[in-house]
């Protein structure tokens, strides 16, 4: 008897056998996969796993390819009182975490401490103080001015928060933190793309699948009021990305045993027209405004 614990609905829609393309639901694709595995029963359980693109990874990309530090696009670190509910605080925490990663990359030491303080306050407010242990905060202060060390610590904060929330069965709050982090880093990516930077234009298109996974994750919590309220903005963005085309080409990977490394040679080429690009920018700003109230 072979069970599949979880299937990422969105990616599997893109993974179906061409002969079965008429099947569009995640469930039917699950069945296809099970048939491949030997025709056994399928159980869909609540413990789904979703990989959401990391805000810290986005911050690194922005630093490497962007136009330099821009204070004008960032949230005010002294505005944490804009978020009265736990859900709003969770999303803001994700957003401030993304800002923390961004400012850390540019050696903005004072701002790093401000955003660290803001994120820590929000985490305290929603009862996830454990994500900001004294040791972690001390290490952060000790490494100010060393971006490579700071981004590791910011990621550790995200991971500690994620672990804490999941251990306490607060998966919906964990999802909102991830949402806030993704939207804020994507917003910064969009501001760079607006300047005509091709690398950012491409990166926006490449976020399609990550956004679809984010939506699938949020759909796990239909009873959550905050998620329901963001549905119009999310739907607009999803609709825009449905116009982004991805064409995957398979190439055999290369293995370098000495480095315990597999080099992936295949990949997707994304196509996004100008109207879609502009709509994505506009709808990202709307979603970001709904989340951050900025």
């Amino acid at each position: 008897m072979r069970f599949l614990i979880f299937l990422s609905v969105i990616v599997l829609i893109g993974c179906q056998d061409p002969a079965n393309k008429e099947q569009e639901s995640g469930d039917s694709l699950t069945t296809l996969d099970a048939q491949k595995e030997g025709g056994s029963d399928i159980i869909m359980v609540d413990g789904a796993l979703f990989s959401i693109p990391s805000p810290v990874e986005a911050a690194l990309f922005i630093k490497d390819n962007g136009s330099g530090f821009r204070e004008d696009i960032l949230l005010n670190p002294n505005s944490t009182d804009l978020y009265p509910t736990s859900a709003q605080k969770a999303m803001a925490l994700g957003a401030y975490g993304a800002e923390l990663g961004y400012v850390s990359m540019y050696e903005q030491n004072d701002r790093s401490l401000s955003y660290m303080g803001a994120a820590r306050k929000l985490a305290d407010d929603i009862g996830m103080t454990g994500a900001f242990s004294e040791d972690l905060v001390r290490r952060f202060s000790n490494n100010l001015g060393i971006p490579d060390s700071l981004v590791v610590l910011v990621s550790d904060i995200y991971k500690a928060g994620d672990l804490y929330l999941k251990n306490n069965d607060r998966n919906d709050i964990a999802a909102l933190v991830l949402l806030g982090g993704w939207v804020e880093s994507f917003y910064i990516t969009c501001t760079e793309a607006e300047k005509g930077n091709i690398a950012f234009h491409k990166r926006i298109a490449e976020q399609k699948e990550g956004l679809m996974r984010l939506k699938a994750m949020l759909d796990m919590y239909p009873e959550n009021v905050a998620i329901r309220e963001l549905k119009p903005q999310m739907d607009n963005l999803i609709n825009d990305f449905n116009n982004v085309k991805a064409n995957y080409v398979f190439k055999r990977p290369e293995v370098i045993n000495a480095k315990q490394l597999t080099v992936l040679k295949g990949g997707s080429v994304h196509e996004m027209d100008e109207t879609t690009f502009k709509n994505i920018i506009a709808h990202t700003k709307e979603l970001r405004k709904a989340i951050t109230r900025n």
Partner: protein, 120 residues
């Protein structure tokens, strides 16, 4: 289950180099018999990734595989002596599926932990 998973997460973190950056998430699933934990992720072009897996307290009890979006097998730890980690680098941005399942003939059940880190 949470305490068991926490221990496994700590053990799994040993496989991540200090200069690698966590993606900020811990992927965990409690597996019984031949259940499979699976999720999809994006490997961005030019970034070095490490995937590490663990169940229980000993290495080599959890098999993991990497598949492309058409479910072509790109990597299986079974082909590399059940290594608990492997490095990946994408020449182009690529959507991948990561699967993990208990080693045949090993544990009957356990908390499967998968971690992803990256470096420039």
């Amino acid at each position: 289950m949470h305490a068991q998973c926490d221990t496994t997460v700590t053990l799994c973190e040993r496989f991540m180099p200090e200069d690698y950056i966590s993606d900020g998430q811990t992927y965990r699933a409690f597996l019984v018999d031949d259940e499979i934990a699976e999720f999809s992720t994006t490997f961005f072009a030019g970034v070095n990734y490490r995937v590490a897996v663990m169940t229980g307290t000993e290495n080599g009890k959890l098999e993991f595989r990497l598949l492309d979006e058409h479910r072509n097998l790109l990597f299986s730890s079974k082909d590399y002596d059940m290594t608990p980690f492997w490095n990946f680098r994408a020449e182009s941005t690529q959507e991948c599926v990561i699967e993990a399942e208990l080693k045949k003939g090993g544990l009957d059940s356990g908390c499967a932990v998968i971690l992803i880190s990256f470096s420039r």
